[in-house]
Symmetry: C2
Subunit: 563 residues, 2 copies
């Protein structure tokens, strides 16, 4: 037994105690650059996501404030940035639409409590039960739902809509009301955003350029412009709107629906961020994959980067809040649409087609359900589809049924089940093996329906049956394979329902034959002993003896009856 | 391709065409005796079950009428008797309570349509997904629910109750209102019923008596009295009530809730019975296990027995209906309670404890849910519990992890996964195998946490590690097992999520070691090719060469670092 190491427990709870002792100026500079870079993405995004959740822009900034501080104290992964995300804002809108921001703040607090409890109870393993195709289908559908919800904003339309289908019906009904200035602004924003994003990927440094200062600086500027694109677009659009004094009615109320997954191991840090955030009027927050990627690319060194980001957010709140009024809704819609478009995962379809086609069912099942009945219900549908597929697999357990008929051993059927055997497959296995005991069908089944491997070419039986399929019936005297050898090497466990099937099966086979259990493990033997009277066990090396004994006593002569 | 054989199809649809051609007087006598015997059980039971469903006694007889005729034409199993059952009557009550019998008749018709459609669509396989422990828990809970619902009748209490908990609360609240005559009558009925049931099991024939006529006749009389006990009790109680002229208020309105399983292959015959039955005012009907057992014990020979039973039902309806008014509710309650008591399956607990303890979870889960929240919801809960258990098993796939360190081969880790590998186990397997790549923990994990089998006693590494557990660190130069051999003999398929875990795993191992895939099947190879760059495949007989190659290139010398 290890002693309870109090220091270790405290450091485990507050990782800042670990990394802060070795915090130096080099790390600080790296974190500062990363912090500022992330803030450039976080601030415009959080303003847009607050609009997505149906609230005024400053709530996005309130939500961005606490995450950085709390995560710097409790978090372990330097890259993670906690703040509003598109999915969570969409979900917040679903549950708080038509209320005031206080409800979103309460939701944030309660979400934090639930996350904290889930973290303490170590429920993170539940995430293992959501497969990647389901996650992918869900994320793609959520991105499309979010993007669709912004079509109104992009075109300057005004109507109420709740779901994906609603939105598109509304767009087509109101398409004649499209406001061209809005459309022009949003299209320009989208083009600028996508164009500036492409800046990041321009490679002007060649291998030999690596040490020349000019190109390196230019490269960094281009990358920085790419990362700061959201801020540039929002600020320019706001300045434009300020001077034009148009778009006087509330430009910020956007609508949408959505949800994200709390899948991190750091669910406690997230819970505390939400709980503390609620005291600073935060809407629910989550780790953002986009911003975490920016943080990583900016060379972040420690969670302290979150401090610097949060300080910038604080400055923005203090100095720029009065000007938020002028941010055009169309510009925010463009920011949101461009932020979520990359979440649509088309590549996975090709990957699944090549590596595991059956997984396309949960993928498209989740995707279609999410778009059709809402993303939360759709996610549950996806998990259920996955479970049904599991049941389907279990209802067809691999048996590897073979008809063994070579000169060394008496002819017999052999099966080699693997893994755990469960109720779902009990009836299939029983009826399949029971069919073999019906004398008429036995050989036909063995060689035709069940696609059995006959191991010796010169077997009289195989020849005989092969011909009987055409029409000829020969009267060669061959032994009917009334012995079933179950190779239990890889059987881990059987459940009660499967055992009862086995019991019935053995009763049927025992009328005219034998079931021999080869290489059964102690647990499996114990299970079999409880349901079968005097099961016949053997090891591989004794099999010949057991087979010869069994066939000498029991084998019927099949040549007497036409096949 | 076989030709469509019209005659065969018609005979398949109407099995009566098959067995009626060879119907002779011997068979007819057997069927007649069985038909009368079954009617003796069916008539009082159907009267009681009609009361259970909340309707007047004649509806039970209406419901018993059609089943026999229809099943004789469409059914294949001579033993089956179709009519009202306790579970189905309970369920009927749940959905038609407070309405008039027309709704029950409509329910019967609609149930028939659904059953017919399910039969045509061959949905019978769905029953495979309900495991025996769930069925057992459900049946026991239903029996207890039904019996509890009759406590009111047994004690002569009057109050409204919907659920199991309601009923017992009501009983304790109204216990002071117990009507002693009712209690006395019902207790007497119960004692008579159970006593007469015991008559069946008295064995007065010894081996040498077998051919003496007297004892044989006596034995048959006893058995017949046992089977006819319900009729005897109901008739005697009605006669008593007729003379005493008490119990004037409606004696028949009983309450309960319930459901049964449509699990037969003969779902079409059942559907048609319900559909036709509806035109004769039938409440929903089902195959009865009790009466089918009676039919079997009476020596039934063909489905024609149903004709005779139905004719007796018809006679009862025509002649005795006026006297139904006098059947005391307490007697019917006694009939119902004694009929369902045997459904409580206690023996399965012992069986599960001995053969498959984990199955106790769905058993008790279903049982408790059925009693707590109602038997329909409880059944669904049971199926969900079973699914969650399947997921739980999948989250811990058997790996059979071994640390192989004998003199023949370079030291390596070997795993032998079996069956289909799914998302639920992806993370567990990845983290378990990933832990082995952490140099510090590798050996410790291998020999302690992971309970690994070291195959050679004289291995320097094993010795070394064994001692390091105490405290000693020796500097023997031993090779770190940075090779993982995955024996794929029994891997059937991996899903996308598992493949992605494998991809990460191979990336981690490839930093300092190798993953070798041994005996992979073509499908598995194809799947691996799609996610891993240049996977290393080999067959068992090439393994030595591959291992030697890999260790010559990559192996780190572990002796340099203290364990």
């Amino acid at each position: 037994m290890k002693k309870l190491d109090l220091k270790r427990v405290i450091v485990g709870l507050f990782p800042i105690l670990q990394w802060s002792v070795s915090y130096d100026s080099g790390t600080a500079v790296g974190d500062l650059i990363a912090g500022i870079t992330v803030a450039l993405t976080l601030i415009p995004q959080s303003i847009a996501y607050a609009s997505l959740a149906g609230f005024e822009p400053q709530y996005g900034l309130y939500a961005s404030l606490c995450g950085g501080f709390i995560y710097a104290i409790l978090g372990t992964c330097p890259q993670i940035n906690i703040g509003p995300t598109a999915l969570l804002s969409l979900l917040t809108f679903t549950y708080t639409s038509g209320t005031n921001p206080d409800f979103a703040v309460l939701l944030c607090f309660m979400a934090g409590i639930v996350q904290l409890l889930a973290g303490v109870a170590q429920l993170g393993f539940l995430v293992d039960f959501v497969s990647l195709p389901v996650v992918s289908g869900f994320t793609s559908a959520a991105a499309i739902t979010i993007a669709s919800s912004q079509i109104k904003g992009l075109l300057g339309l005004k109507f109420n809509s709740e779901s994906f289908v609603d939105t598109w019906r509304g767009v087509f009904q109101h398409i004649q009301d499209t406001r061209l200035p809005d459309t022009f602004l949003s299209l320009t924003c989208c083009i600028v955003l996508l164009g500036m994003k492409a800046l990041k990927d321009i490679h002007i440094i060649t291998a030999q350029d690596g040490k020349r200062r000019g190109p390196v600086l230019l490269q960094k500027c281009l990358w920085f412009a790419g990362v700061g694109r959201n801020a540039v677009v929002v600020v320019l659009a706001a300045v434009l709107a300020y001077f034009l004094h148009r778009d006087k009615n509330d430009p910020l109320i956007l609508t949408a629906r959505g949800r994200t997954l709390d899948a991190t191991q750091e669910i406690v840090a997230l819970g505390v961020s939400n709980i503390f955030g609620a005291f600073f009027l935060s809407i629910p927050v989550n780790g953002s994959f986009t911003r975490s990627a920016v943080s990583d690319a900016s060379g972040v060194r420690s969670p302290a980067a979150g401090f610097y980001t949060s300080i910038l957010v604080l400055l923005t709140l203090a100095l720029l809040t009065p000007y938020f009024y002028f941010i055009p809704r169309a510009a925010l819609a463009a920011v949101i649409v461009c932020a979520v478009l990359h979440m649509v995962d088309i590549a996975i379809v090709k990957q699944l087609w090549r590596s595991s086609r059956l997984d396309l069912i949960p993928l498209f099942g989740t995707f279609i359900c999410c778009l059709g009945v809402g993303i939360e219900v759709g996610l549950i549908c996806g998990v259920v589809v996955d479970m049904l597929l599991l049941l389907y697999y279990h209802s067809r357990p691999p048996l590897d049924l073979q008809f063994v008929n070579n000169n060394d051993l008496p002819p017999h059927f052999a099966i080699h089940p693997v893994g755990r055997l469960h109720f779902a497959g009990a009836e299939t296995v029983r009826s399949k093996l029971s069919a073999l005991t019906k004398p008429k069908d036995r050989i036909n089944n063995a060689l035709q329906t069940l696609k059995v491997v006959s191991t010796t070419p010169n077997s009289a039986l195989a020849t005989n049956c092969g011909r009987s399929e055409d029409n000829g019936v020969e009267s060669n005297t061959v032994k009917a394979p009334n012995i079933l050898v179950v190779y239990c090497d890889d059987v881990v466990r059987m459940d009660y329902t499967f055992l009862q099937s086995i019991k019935m099966l053995v009763a049927e086979w025992s009328k005219n034959g034998r079931v021999i259990w080869c290489n059964a493990k102690p647990l499996v033997k114990k299970q079999l002993d409880n349901v079968i009277q005097e099961p016949i066990y053997c090891e591989s090396n004794q099999l010949r003896m057991f087979l010869t004994d069994a066939s000498a006593v029991d084998v019927a002569v099949l040549g007497d009856t036409p096949l």
